[in-house]
Point group: C2
Chain length 142, copies 2
DNA sequence: ATGGGTGCAAAGGATTTGCAACATT
DNA sequence: AATGTTGCAAATCCTTTGCACCCAT
């Protein structure tokens, strides 16, 4: 129950803290496994029966637009979100599909406009793909 | 008309060079603007009336699985492809939506399994977001 | 009463699937 | 014959849109 922390994050990004927004922010802060829209919706709807998927979509999109969360497009099939806005690489396992943080690995700094041929960069995402430790030891099956 | 080059690339990746595959590979070699499925289909169907979208989907997916092309998921709305398999960063403009190569910028090398906490990495994608030179000079409108 | 926030149902779009027709060895 | 390839139509699934309702200021 990090409603306090969630509210503080919303406030610090100029987002009015409604019940839904606090619930959604709390959810992605507690579940650091890069939940999808569906994950968030399913995780919350039991204790929040009136919640709608639309609100989850709108809210998470808004969070990422205001840098209160990261939108992750590493999985071609669906978007997922990361409540940790600290830049860090992500990894997706080709076998189990899970998305992991790779906190130990370096993340390139956003190049300046001069370094980047006139492109104004405001965000970077580094995605790695392969096999996670669990799936790479079980190389026998499949 | 780089059918020769396209065939060679297919062959070097163990892909049987059918008419459709050569046409699709040629298309992404000639159009280095990261075409979507729809782009490829529209670009080819005029000269290849029997071509189906399904074949474009299947073929490009297969190309990326066999490392004959890169699947790019920088745009949350749709996947696009890059015929250049040389690792390099990509950039998407938040305003015009175009995807660009950033050849001048460095690309992290895939970390070894030891460096990556047991994760077996076989591919890396580095995505930058922001405003492209054209859209960032036209900052007045919008 | 005004404006933002929410939620429902419907629409929209991208992608995949099932299967039959074809080609190729 | 056997195998791999293609293409159509339908199905699926994710996401967005339009609009009405509600709540707080």
């Amino acid at each position: 129950m990090q409603a306090k922390e969630a509210s503080a994050i919303l406030a610090s990004h100029g987002i009015k803290p409604t019940l839904q927004r606090i619930a959604i922010m709390s959810y992605i802060l507690e579940h650091r496994i890069h939940p999808t829209i569906e994950d968030v919706y399913n995780g919350l709807v039991a204790n929040f029966p009136t919640l709608s998927r639309t609100t989850v979509y709108n809210t998470l999109r808004m969070f990422s637009e205001r840098s209160a969360a990261q939108m992750i497009t590493i999985d071609e099939h669906r978007v997922c979100y990361d409540g940790d806005t600290h830049p860090h690489p992500h990894f997706i396992c080709r076998k189990c599909g899970q998305v992991f943080d790779l906190m130990g690995l370096p993340m390139p700094v956003c190049p300046s406009r001069e370094e980047a041929d006139g492109f104004m960069i405001d965000e970077a995402q580094l995605y790695y793909k392969g096999l996670c430790p669990d799936c790479s030891t079980t190389t026998v099956e499949d």
